[in-house]
């Protein structure tokens, strides 16, 4: 513990900030993973790992899916699988598709604006290389 506290605060900040950023995007990412069709929890985790930089703790996604379902953005059904036990599949409801569409628009516009703002910073880094 003492070792952790001894770490320079400024060295920790980017990591913490990135974690906050990812946190905020997680709900949208979970909804987006279901855009193409229904998936069960482990498939959602693997989908997010392979299609984005979101590496999740395996227990993270389930409370979020539960909450999104309670909000009426997802529906779920148990499906018998070859694995010998049923799996709980999630899919977007009409409200979920609409919410995701709004989120995607807001995110794209926000990220586009920030990218333009950061362009000189990134160009400067290229020059330094």
């Amino acid at each position: 513990m003492a070792k952790l506290r001894a770490l320079p605060a400024e060295g920790e900040q980017p990591d913490r900030w990135e974690a906050q950023l990812r946190k905020g995007a997680l709900e949208m990412a979970a909804l987006a993973s279901l855009w193409q069709g229904r998936l069960y929890g482990l498939e959602i985790i693997r989908f997010l790992e392979s299609n984005s930089r979101l590496v999740l703790g395996e227990g993270t996604i389930y409370p979020i899916l539960n909450r999104l379902k309670a909000e009426g953005l997802l529906s779920s059904e148990w499906v018998e699988a070859e694995a010998g036990h049923p799996r709980k599949y999630y899919q977007l409801t009409v409200a979920g598709r609409e919410r995701l569409h709004l989120m995607a628009e807001a995110w794209t516009s926000f990220a586009g604006g920030l990218s333009r703002l950061l362009e000189p910073v990134m160009n400067k880094q290229e020059e330094l290389k």
């Binding site: 905020g24 069960y40 993270t60 389930y62």
Partner: protein, 192 residues
């Protein structure tokens, strides 16, 4: 301990700590997590113990479900007790939660206090009201002793409906703000 026993122990602990959720919700969660562990173990070939470690402790997992449930219930509730309980839980999560909690306590105290003074006015008419001195607000509320001349009370019995209306509006505004804050927090409470 066999693989099934390890899993059963984990799921039992999870079930116990999901306390306030309905029986159907608890069983659905336990069933889903059980299926996840079996799938993950089969997919990766990892022992159940490793998969359970990747899930995190059953207590922590249950806490995340409980928090989501509590805040989701509260964001649809009008009960000050339920709302305050949820904001108190939110306050343990960071600065935003603390601000919401203190705003909630302040709003309820202001609104409730004002409505209460409306009920006190008929009992202590001389001590309750709004006092003005030289055209400026001098004091308001229930005061012992009440301000003397040149300050004078201006509302008289109009204080009762006015305090009731303003107090009720403050309580309603506080409730609306807390519910909005809880809905916002639902989108930010996920943990990586």
């Amino acid at each position: 301990m066999t693989r099934e026993m390890q899993l059963d122990n984990y799921l039992n602990t999870l079930r116990i700590h999901l306390g306030p959720l309905t029986l159907a919700e608890r069983e659905e969660i336990v069933r889903e997590i059980g299926a996840h562990v079996r799938d993950s173990a089969e997919e990766t070939g990892a022992p159940v113990e490793t998969v359970l470690a990747r899930l995190g402790s059953a207590e922590e997992l249950a806490r995340q479900y409980r928090d989501g449930w509590l805040i989701s219930q509260a964001s649809r509730s009008f009960s000050p007790l339920v709302l305050l309980r949820a904001t108190l839980r939110l306050a343990t999560k960071g600065v935003f939660g603390m601000v919401v909690f203190f705003a909630a306590v302040f709003g309820y105290a202001m609104g409730g206090g004002l409505a209460l003074t409306a009920l006190v006015k008929p009992i202590l008419p001389g001590n309750t009201g709004v006092w003005v001195e030289n055209g400026q607000l001098a004091s308001s509320g229930v005061l012992f002793p009440p301000p003397g001349p040149p300050a004078h009370e201006v509302l008289e019995m109009w204080y009762v409906p006015l305090a009731l209306v303003v107090g009720s509006l403050t309580l309603l505004a506080t409730t609306a703000v807390i519910r909005a804050a809880l809905r916002t927090s639902q989108r930010w409470q996920a943990r990586l």
